[in-house]
Subunit: 125 residues, 2 copies
């Protein structure tokens, strides 16, 4: 995927209405070599880490948790959270939650953990 | 400023309530060498460009315009827009608008245009 910037404004609610799968991020925009991805979360993800990068979650609807080995952080609607690079974490949402993920292009959702929840990367909507 | 990630979730509305100046971005988070900045816009900014980087606006409240030499783009609440690197633009908001800016650390709000609206950089809230 070559670098591209959308010529128009991107309506997140409109994009969110176009898919329903959980744990399957969809790219909506690129800024330099970073991507903005929408994701719907429900249930529990897998423990993983991203060795080389921080990762940002911004909650659009509902609430989610980022679990670390020593504590849990709750992210509510309109809140932003930075998962530090190299720190093992797990995401959870008891009810469906919609979030915007911001991270470098090429980051795999399960990090190096792999498994069934590993999503196709660089999937645009 | 060394790299730092906030240990807790960041409530954007709460941060926005803490300042009132227009055209004066406040950093709320860092992800790698990128910053998330809140800004309140009203009126018209100055024509400028960022030679080396794209710049993202996400509108939290109200609406804003990004003007280019050949067209205007309106960004409404819940919408995201990528200003491509190296393209001259101007931001405007007829009524007060609150937005989140995402761009590399060190980017100056007026690019190379300078002038009275050049804000102090790396100002956290």
């Amino acid at each position: 995927m070559t670098h591209r910037t959308a010529p128009d404004s991107i309506n997140l609610a409109e994009k969110l209405a176009r898919f329903s799968e959980h744990w399957s991020p969809r790219v909506v925009a690129e800024m330099n070599d970073y991507q903005f991805k929408l994701v719907k979360l429900r249930g529990e993800f897998v423990w993983h880490e991203h060795k080389d990068t921080d990762e940002v979650f911004f909650v659009i609807k509902g609430q989610m948790q980022v679990g670390f080995r020593d504590r849990d952080v709750t992210i509510g609607e309109g809140e932003l959270f930075v998962v530090p690079r190299g720190v093992e974490h797990i995401t959870r949402a008891s009810d469906e939650c919609h979030a915007l993920i911001i991270e470098p292009r090429g980051v795999v959702n399960t990090g190096e953990a792999g498994g069934d929840l590993t999503a196709q990367n660089d999937r645009w909507i």
